[in-house]
C-alpha cells in the first residue's frame, strides 16, 4: 500500500485535498450535508470534471486543447436542438451530440498528426470555428432539453447524486479498464517519450488520433451534461471552461509536459476547483472577492508545486523540468 501511494502520490494528494475541502464545505454549509446540497455541488463539479477529462487526453500525449470549451458550446447548442423530444429520439439525439464531439476531436487530431501544426495553435483556430458553428445554431441562448431526462441525470438515485455515480462510472468502467490496455499504455508512452514509443512498436499517429477523439468525446459529454444542468443551449460558455479545464488538470497533478498523471487526478482537480468556489460562497467572504481568492488559490498551489526548484543545488537540473 505505501508503494501504491508513492507511485500515485500526485493523485493521492489531489484526492486528500479534495476530501479536506469537501469536509470543510459540508460542515460550514448552513444546511449541512443533505442530498440537495450534495447534488448541486456534484452537478457543478461533474461539468468541469468532464471538461478536465477532455483536457487530460490532450495533455497526456504532450498536447494542449484550447478548444475544450468551444466543443462544449457546440455540443451544448446541438443538444438544445435535438434533446427536446421524447423517448427513443433522445437516444439518437445524445448519440448525435457525442458524435459531434468526437468529430471535433478528430479534426483537431488530424491537423496535429497529419498537417503537423502545434496542438496549441490548431485548437486555438478550431475553437474559433466551433464557436462560430455554435453561434449559428444558437445566436442567443435558448432551446430546450427534455426535463425528465435532465432531472434523471442531475438529481439523485437513492440519495446519491447521479453526478457522483456518473463520475464513479467514468473512473471504474472506463478509465481503470482503459489503463490496462495497449491503448492506455500507448497514451502515456507517447507523452513520456514519443521516440521510445515509436521504437517500441506503438502506432504513434493512430494512438494520438484516438487520444484526440477521446478528448472530443469527453468535451461532448461535458457539453451534454451542461445541457442537462442548464436545460438550455448557450454558445457563449467557451472561454471559461477551456481555462478552467487546464487549471483543473494542473491541480490534479497532470504534468503539462505529458506522460504523467491520471484521469482520476484530472477529475479530482476539477472537483477541487469547484469546491473552492462553492466553499467561498458560504464562507462569509464577499461574493466579489470570490474570483480573486480562486485565482490566488490556483496561483499558490502552482507556486508551491514549483517551489522545490529553489532547493535544486545543481543549476543544470532545472532545465530538465
Amino acid at each position: 500500500m505505501p508503494e501504491f501511494l508513492r507511485a500515485n502520490r500526485r493523485e493521492a494528494i489531489a484526492v486528500a485535498v479534495l476530501l479536506f475541502l469537501l469536509t470543510v464545505y459540508l460542515s460550514t454549509h448552513p444546511r449541512g450535508m443533505s442530498t440537495y446540497v450534495m447534488t448541486i455541488w456534484a452537478n457543478q463539479c461533474l461539468i468541469l470534471a468532464l471538461a478536465a477529462a477532455a483536457q487530460f487526453f490532450a495533455v497526456i500525449v504532450r498536447g494542449i486543447d484550447l478548444s475544450v470549451g468551444a466543443v462544449m458550446a457546440l455540443t451544448n447548442t446541438i443538444a438544445s436542438h435535438v434533446m427536446g423530444g421524447e423517448g427513443i429520439s433522445l437516444l439518437g439525439g445524445a448519440a448525435l451530440v457525442l458524435a459531434a464531439g468526437v468529430a471535433c476531436g478528430l479534426l483537431n487530431g488530424a491537423l496535429v498528426v497529419f498537417a503537423r501544426i502545434q496542438p496549441i495553435v490548431v485548437t486555438l483556430a478550431t475553437a474559433s470555428i466551433f464557436v462560430g458553428l455554435a453561434l449559428i445554431l444558437r445566436p442567443t441562448p435558448g432551446g430546450v432539453i427534455n426535463y425528465d431526462l435532465a432531472d434523471a441525470m442531475t438529481l439523485d438515485v437513492l440519495g446519491i447524486p447521479t453526478a457522483l455515480l456518473i463520475t464513479a462510472a467514468v473512473i471504474g468502467l472506463f478509465w481503470i479498464p482503459l489503463r490496462r490496455t495497449g491503448l492506455g499504455l500507448g497514451l502515456y508512452a507517447i507523452g513520456s517519450s514519443e521516440q521510445a514509443a515509436f521504437q517500441s512498436g506503438i502506432q504513434v499517429p493512430l494512438v494520438r488520433m484516438i487520444s484526440f477523439g477521446l478528448g472530443g468525446l469527453f468535451a461532448g459529454l461535458a457539453g451534454l451534461y451542461f445541457s442537462f444542468v442548464t436545460t438550455t443551449g448557450d454558445a457563449g460558455i467557451a472561454a471559461n471552461f477551456t481555462l478552467n479545464s487546464i487549471a483543473a488538470v494542473v491541480l490534479g497533478g497532470v504534468a503539462l509536459r505529458g506522460g504523467v498523471g491520471s484521469l482520476i487526478g484530472a477529475i479530482a482537480g476539477a472537483f477541487i476547483l469547484k469546491t473552492i468556489g462553492a466553499l467561498m460562497f458560504f464562507s462569509g467572504l464577499p461574493p466579489l472577492a470570490q474570483p480573486f481568492v480562486e485565482g490566488l488559490v490556483l496561483a499558490a498551489a502552482i507556486a508551491i508545486g514549483g517551489a522545490d526548484v529553489l532547493r535544486v543545488r545543481n543549476r543544470l537540473e532545472v532545465f530538465a523540468r
Partner: protein, 317 residues
C-alpha cells in the same frame, strides 16, 4: 547585418503581407471604398491596438513561452489609467499613462518570477496571474463597469492624427522599431531565439537566461499595458473583459507572422504582417456584414490554411 536582414525577409515573413494585399485587392472588387485613404487609415489605427500587444507577445513566444495574462494586464492598465484620469486632478491625470505602464511592467516581473525562478510552465503561471488580476479588478469595481474616463493625451494617442497618419499607428511603429533595434543591436534578440531553441546550451554559454526571461516578460507586460491605455483612449473608458477579445488574435497574429510557437524562429516584422492580416480580415468580414458566427468560422479556417501553407513550405525547405 545586411545578410541577416535579407534572411529575415524570407517568404514566410512576406506571406502575411502578401495575403493582406490580396485581401485588400479582393475586397475592393466588391467594396471599392476599401482602396480609399479614409478606410485604410482607419485600419492602421485599429491594427495599432492589436499590434502593440502583439509586439510583446512575439518576444515571449520567441523564447518558447506564452503570456496568457494579456487580457487582464490590458484591462487593468485601462482601469488604472481611466481611474486616475477620471479624478480630474491634473497631477493624477498626468500620472495615468506612467502608472498604467508601471503596472504592466510589474505584472511582467511577476510572470517572470514564476517562469524563470520557479520554473512553472508559462502557460499555467500566466493563466493563474491572469485570473488573480481578474479577481482583483472584480473586487475593485464591484463587477460593474468602472467610472472614470480617458485623459486628453490618451484620446489623442488612440484617435489623433499627425500629418494625416493615425498617432496610434505611429506609436505602434515606434514601439516596433525600438524593439527591433533592441533585438538586433544588442545580444538580446540572439539570446531570445537561442533560449527558444535550447535554454540549457544558452545558459552554458554564459548567458544569464533568467535575466533574459525577466526582460522579455516585462516588455510583454509593458506592451499589453500600452495596448490597454490605447484602447481606453479609443473607447474613452475601461470596461469589464475588454482584454478578452485580444488574447487569441494576438497569438494568431504572431504565429501567422511566422514565429514558431515552440520558440526560436521568427521575428517582429512577420508579426506586423500578421497583425495587418488579422485586422483586415476582421474588417472585411464586418464590411460584408457577416454575422459574428461566420466571422468566427472564416477566421479559424483561414488561420489553419495559413499555417498549413507555412508548415508545407517548412517541410520542403
Amino acid at each position: 547585418m545586411s545578410l541577416a536582414i535579407a534572411r529575415r525577409l524570407d517568404l514566410t515573413t512576406l506571406l502575411p503581407f502578401a495575403a493582406t494585399v490580396l485581401l485588400i485587392l479582393g475586397g475592393s472588387l466588391f467594396f471599392p471604398q476599401m482602396l480609399g485613404i479614409g478606410y485604410l487609415s482607419q485600419q492602421l489605427q485599429i491594427a495599432a491596438f492589436l499590434g502593440v500587444i502583439a509586439m510583446g507577445a512575439t518576444i515571449v513566444i520567441l523564447l518558447g513561452h506564452i503570456d496568457l495574462s494579456v487580457p487582464w494586464v490590458l484591462g487593468g492598465a485601462a482601469l488604472i489609467s481611466t481611474t486616475l484620469a477620471g479624478t480630474g486632478d491634473p497631477l493624477l491625470t498626468a500620472l495615468a499613462i506612467p502608472a498604467a505602464l508601471a503596472f504592466g511592467g510589474l505584472i511582467g516581473l511577476i510572470n517572470a518570477v514564476g517562469v524563470a525562478l520557479l520554473r512553472i510552465p508559462s502557460m499555467v503561471w500566466t493563466l493563474a496571474v491572469n485570473s488573480m488580476l481578474l479577481g482583483i479588478s472584480v473586487l475593485y469595481t464591484g463587477g460593474f463597469n468602472p467610472k472614470g474616463e480617458a485623459s486628453a493625451t490618451m484620446n489623442w494617442l488612440a484617435t489623433g492624427k499627425l500629418a494625416g497618419i493615425p498617432v496610434a499607428f505611429l506609436l505602434w511603429m515606434a514601439v516596433a522599431v525600438g524593439l527591433a533595434l533592441m533585438l538586433h543591436r544588442t545580444g538580446f534578440g540572439r539570446y531570445l531565439s537561442a533560449i527558444g531553441y535550447n535554454e540549457k546550451a544558452t545558459f552554458l554559454s554564459g548567458v544569464s537566461t533568467p535575466s533574459v526571461l525577466f526582460a522579455a516578460f516585462s516588455i510583454a507586460g509593458l506592451c499589453s499595458a500600452l495596448g490597454g491605455v490605447l484602447l481606453a483612449g479609443y473607447a474613452n473608458q475601461a470596461y469589464q473583459s475588454m482584454g478578452d477579445p485580444y488574447l487569441l488574435p494576438t497569438i494568431a497574429a504572431v504565429v501567422i507572422g511566422g514565429t514558431s510557437i515552440l520558440g526560436g524562429k521568427g521575428g517582429l516584422l512577420g508579426t506586423v504582417g500578421g497583425v495587418f492580416f488579422i485586422t483586415l480580415l476582421n474588417s472585411i468580414l464586418s464590411v460584408m456584414q457577416m454575422s459574428d458566427a461566420w466571422r468566427s468560422i472564416i477566421f479559424g479556417v483561414l488561420i489553419i490554411t495559413m499555417l498549413m501553407v507555412q508548415t508545407l513550405r517548412g517541410r520542403e525547405g
